[in-house]
């Protein structure tokens, strides 16, 4: 049997498959389908300093081979996340490896969120910094508009915590530039891609299909965008990359690993098939076995040009 464990900088995971933030709730929602602790990591929905309502509805729109969402980072706030059984304590009890996605409207909110998580970091494997959510007016994507601003956020979080940090990049903008800037600012890992800014309009009513007007595109249609982002980033940085965007099966995951990702995340596919993340784990294991590979590292970045 191949060894599925992966080393991502300071972090070692039992396998290279995670959930993508925002598609797996706060980790306990899919408990009835498979044990969340069987994944490499559960990446929870974005958390910030306070409770957030999120955007008005409609928040989603289906498009060909994908969907748009503009949820607007609805969430319980970091204090409730740390102390309510539906959130971190529930995952801790199950022994799941937890990565907490964090966001803020200001540097202070990123810092404060990170400090609170640092103070009760038992069971938290890493923080994923969301500097690229397309669906909130302040914070989120505005911090990824230029590499300096993004680096500022990373430094603020770096100074607030010893927990390993992942920076989640937007597919917009020059990936190598942002990837390098994140590495230089102290990010231990990168994850990509966030959803792609997008829009859909109802031609009967001339109204946007999302109440937020625009949203983020995800699903199988975005995979080629994600593959290129990972491929470009892997050439630009030394830190490990977590690849995501349109992964439905182990084949999609394998493509990301070959492109240069050291781990992958399953997102929108979980909505269609709640078993998708765990099926990707099993599928990758069988693939590596067929290849005769002893570990995941043997296939990472093996694009044959």
């Amino acid at each position: 049997m191949p060894d599925l464990s992966v080393k991502l900088g300071p972090l070692t995971l039992k396998n290279p498959v995670m959930t993508a933030s925002g598609t797996f709730g706060y980790g306990m929602e899919y408990e009835g389908f498979f044990p969340p602790e069987d994944l490499g990591a559960v990446v929870v929905k974005g958390v910030t300093t306070r409770q957030v309502h999120g955007n008005p509805t409609p928040r989603v729109a289906e498009v060909v081979s994908g969907m748009l969402n503009a949820i607007g980072l609805q969430g319980p706030g970091v204090d409730k996340f740390l102390h309510d059984d539906h959130y971190l304590p529930g995952l801790r009890k199950r022994g799941a490896t937890v990565i907490v996605n964090i966001w803020g409207r200001s540097l202070d909110e990123y810092r404060e969120t990170a400090e609170k998580l640092e103070a009760e970091s038992d069971g938290i494997a890493a923080l994923e910094i969301n500097v690229s959510c397309p669906n909130v007016k302040e914070g989120g994507i505005s911090f990824s508009a230029d590499p300096q601003k993004m680096a500022g956020v990373i430094s603020a979080v770096r100074n607030a915590t010893k927990i390993p940090i992942i920076t989640k990049l937007s597919p917009n903008g020059a990936i190598p530039v942002f990837a390098k800037a994140a590495e230089d600012a102290g990010s231990d890992m990168l994850s990509m891609i966030n959803t792609i800014p997008a829009m859909a309009i109802d031609i009967e009513t001339h109204r946007p299909k999302l109440a937020n007007v625009t949203g983020g595109l995800s699903g199988p249609c975005v995979k080629p965008v994600g593959i290129k982002a990972v491929y470009d980033a892997a050439k630009a940085v030394k830190i490990p990359i977590i690849g995501m965007g349109g992964i439905e099966t182990w084949r999609d995951a394998a493509e990301y690993l070959i492109a240069g990702a050291s781990a992958v995340a399953v997102g929108t596919a979980t909505f269609t098939n709640p078993m998708a993340p765990i099926e990707v784990v099993r599928g990758l294991e069988q693939w590596l076995e067929r290849l005769g590979a002893k570990s995941v590292s043997e296939v990472i970045g093996t694009v044959n040009l």
Binding site: G25, Y30, R59, T272, P274
Partner: protein, 259 residues
């Protein structure tokens, strides 16, 4: 729970409405009135999301769904034929609680909302009254099934083509009077109707449950797409967004935010 279920039958009710039946023993045994199933439409390969449907019937291991053809998903579902397999998640969501002894269920539905409350008529010993509102005759569904369960069926159509001419809410005072106010409302239908029913129940001090939802993705509370507004003491605004797939779709009317 997720299972592959075989389509047993698929009937045309009228131009826009269909009734589909699945062999689904596990789902049927677990299901309670008011819950829903999340269905992956067969051969809808360029669309990724499942579609939620109210459980219309779950007796004898047969899951029945009654649906209206409204978009690409339901149009493709209408092409499905008996023998085909379908991936179904469920039963999902909250359910209608039975009334305390001595209280009569009054079901208040709009159009194919009648599908969501039929399990109440089938399962609960205490029979009651169905108030069904529809645009026109063609949208009046399942009345024979309710009558067969022993229900007093009262219909209102907006064009007067069948039953009383007007809105279903106009039938509510009569139902309250006929039950001497000893009734509980259970309601499913368009949002405007539900808000009117909920407000009326609060004014009349009648216990009431509403079936609320919004476009749904995951069906299990993970994506936060299908939210509806409910009252919240802990929120400075007095309300919060609640995930209708797992905290609903059945909500006590007194917990809903009316604005």
């Amino acid at each position: 729970m997720i299972s592959d279920c075989k389509i047993i039958s698929h009937e045309v009710i009228s131009r826009d409405y269909r009734k589909i039946r699945f062999h689904a023993p596990e789902i049927c045994r677990a299901a309670k009135p008011g819950q829903f199933v999340h269905v992956q439409i067969p051969s809808l390969s360029d669309r990724i999301l499942r579609r939620p449907f109210s459980i219309c019937d779950m007796e004898d291991d047969v899951l029945t769904i009654v649906y209206k053809i409204v978009g690409v998903g339901t149009a493709r579902l209408a092409d499905a034929v008996p023998g085909m397999m379908c991936s179904i998640m469920g039963p999902l969501g909250t359910f209608f609680p039975e009334p305390e002894d001595g209280k009569i269920p009054v079901l208040i539905d709009g159009g194919y909302g009648a599908a969501a409350t039929l399990p109440i008529a089938r399962r609960w010993k205490q029979k009651g009254i169905l108030l069904l509102g529809a645009r026109t005759q063609d949208d009046v569904l399942l009345t024979e099934e309710y009558k067969a369960c022993g229900y007093d069926v009262r219909v209102a159509t907006q064009d007067g083509s069948v039953g009383t001419k007007g809105l279903v809410t106009e039938l509510i005072p009569g139902a309250i009077a006929d039950t001497n106010g000893k009734c509980v409302f259970y309601s499913c239908g368009p949002n405007g109707m539900l808000m009117a029913v909920g407000k009326l129940s609060l004014e009349q001090n009648v216990e009431c449950y509403l079936t609320l939802d919004h476009q749904m993705c995951c069906g299990v509370g993970a994506c936060f797409a299908c939210v509806v507004k409910v009252k919240s003491d802990s929120s400075p605004d007095g309300w919060r967004y609640s995930r209708s797939c797992c905290e609903g779709p059945v909500y006590p009317a007194k917990e809903v935010w009316y604005a």
